[in-house]
């Protein structure tokens, strides 16, 4: 029974592989960006509430920045096939840049430069911007491909 499920899952997987487009690549990268910014927010929140060690916060921020840079690279290297994709790419890049700035500010604040509260606000802004891009890409993707 389970073997049958595994086997059919494998077959299904082979059947639907090879479906990808510029839109979905950007969409995934934006989701990665959101995860990173949310991680940073959570870490900063815990730092401000004195629930965590600064070593953990610094590490989490470093990891978040790496993820954001990775997402940015993915988006920049995506070829757009239509106007909608090109617009999406531009917006995604600027939202991700906001995220990188915010995480960098937070890291600076951990090192004693600037305030962590301000960085927290920036992280919220970046998160909102990324979510706006995600919503937009979701709707355009639905129109383009009839869902993921």
């Amino acid at each position: 029974m389970r073997a049958a499920a595994f086997a059919s899952a494998a077959l299904l997987a082979i059947a639907i592989s090879g479906c990808s487009s510029a839109g979905s690549g950007i969409e995934d990268a934006v989701a990665q960006g959101i995860a990173a910014v949310e991680t940073a927010s959570l870490a900063v929140e815990q730092e401000l509430a004195d629930r965590t060690f600064s070593t953990v916060t610094v590490t989490a921020l470093g990891d978040a920045r790496r993820e954001l840079v990775d997402a940015t690279t993915t988006v920049s290297e995506t070829d757009a096939t239509n106007d909608a994709d090109a617009t999406l790419r531009t917006e995604a890049l600027s939202a991700l840049a906001l995220g990188v700035d915010a995480v960098n500010d937070a890291r600076d604040a951990m090192a004693g430069l600037g305030s962590l509260d301000a960085a927290e606000l920036l992280l919220e802004e970046a998160s909102a911007a990324l979510e706006a891009v995600e919503t937009q890409s979701g709707t355009s993707a639905t129109a383009d491909r009839g869902g993921r």
Binding site: A9, I16, I34, T39, A43, T55, D63, E67
Partner: protein
């Protein structure tokens, strides 16, 4: 009194030793993406590792033969060598992941770049293997690993909506925003994380290091059937913490720092320190186990002298092989590759390699020449055969799913 202490110690180390970097990462990743929707896989995996470990422990205690000797003897040199190559490479990958995990845990404690910690961690692993008695290394890392119970405590402190968690666990299936293939890919990864072959190589060789006899079987059964399921509960708690804190914030876990965020959220600095110590102990313990396992598999296939109970010069090739493994792991990590990524691959390949390591044990456990009247009963054979089918299915499906889902991206 001493007996009770011995039994308790065994169970506790089994719990603490169950979780390694593979379980930590895979469970947190799965929890952050699927909630408890894959908790059933942990159950399947835990029962599987119980069956497998119990059989190989019994074979080791009764016949005095460790798992890879049996594999060579039953599969012959060719299939045995294919199996050795696969097991050894996966083991090496796991050694790399565990040493990387130690470095990442040290980074959490110090915020010093993990690449600087790698040589330190590797040296520590080697020196412990070189100098410390087997029982001591097993017990210390196992007991310290128990601090991972903080994940279960954290789950309670987070006072989640138990109804919805139970709902996730009881209604398996891919959520709307994830493809079915991704769901099954992670199912196999979790299964591989729970049923890693090295655990069995280590367990059976350990039985010989500790000179088990038939009298130790009851103790071994208790260790396995109590310790491993409790370890499985820890695994589910790690997934649960991620499901409660990270899933709603749409945080997909990609690093170790995210795994501990829910613990800090729930219990602040005290809980966090327990978690860091626990992760450090679990990854360090697993680094020892996997390094020893690479030596065990090679030595047992070729018939070399092995074992920590001998002086190193009397098990020279065994020790040399382990030194080389640790050095290779350091070389891999020094390229800057993310240990978390290595972990994700190693658990999937573990699932691929499992059938050929499992089958010979199932056969020998039925062989009266080796086992006398301690051969498998009907019930054990039934469960053993069911698992043979599951293990083969998972192994066959693993590589296609890995390719199709792009490793679950």
């Amino acid at each position: 009194m001493k007996r009770i202490f011995g039994v308790a110690l065994g169970v506790l180390t089994a719990i603490g030793g169950f979780v390694d970097i593979g379980d930590l990462v895979t469970n947190a990743v799965v929890g952050s993406r699927f909630g408890l929707g894959l908790a059933w896989v942990v159950l399947v995996g835990v029962v599987g590792i119980c069956v497998y470990a119990q059989m190989s422990g019994r074979v080791a205690a009764v016949s005095g033969r460790a798992t890879f000797e049996i594999i060579r003897e039953r599969l012959g040199p060719r299939a045995g060598l294919a199996n050795l190559a696969a097991s050894f490479l996966i083991n090496l990958l796991t050694v790399t992941a565990e040493i990387g995990g130690v470095a990442l845990a040290l980074q959490l404690a110090t915020s010093v770049d993990p690449r600087l910690w790698v040589p330190v961690a590797a040296f520590a692993v080697w020196i412990v293997i070189w100098r410390v008695r087997f029982e001591l290394l097993e017990n210390v890392t196992g007991l310290l690993g128990l601090t991972l119970i903080v994940f279960a405590v954290a789950l309670f402190l987070l006072s989640p909506d138990w109804g919805s968690l139970a709902g996730q666990a009881l209604q398996p299936g891919a959520p709307a925003d994830e493809a079915a293939t991704t769901y099954w890919f992670f199912a196999i990864a979790l299964f591989g994380a729970a049923m890693t072959p090295y655990e069995v190589f280590f367990f059976s060789s350990g039985a010989i290091e500790e000179r088990w006899t038939e009298d130790d079987l009851a103790k071994s059964r208790l260790n396995v059937f109590v310790g491993f399921p409790l370890g499985g509960i820890l695994s589910i708690a790690i997934a649960g913490c991620a499901a409660v804190v990270l899933l709603p914030a749409s945080i997909d876990v990609t690093s170790l720092s995210q795994v501990v965020l829910p613990v800090a959220e729930a219990g602040g600095k005290v809980a966090l320190s327990f978690a860091i110590v626990g992760i450090l102990a679990a990854t360090f313990g697993a680094a020892l186990e996997t390094t020893l396992s690479s030596g065990y598999t090679l030595a047992q296939y070729f018939g070399w002298s092995w074992g920590k109970f001998r002086r190193p010069a009397k098990a020279a090739r065994f020790h040399l092989a382990m030194i080389i493994c640790v050095l290779v792991a350091v070389a891999i990590l020094s390229t800057g590759v993310d240990p978390i990524v290595i972990t994700e691959y190693s658990v999937v390949f573990s699932a691929v390699a499992l059938p050929l390591t499992y089958l010979p044990i199932l056969i020998i456990a039925n062989d009266r020449e080796y086992m006398g009247d301690q051969v498998n009963g009907r019930g054990m054979n039934f469960i053993g055969s069911v698992y043979l089918v599951i293990i083969i299915a998972a192994a066959v499906a693993a590589i296609p799913l890995l390719i199709v889902t792009g490793a679950g991206a």
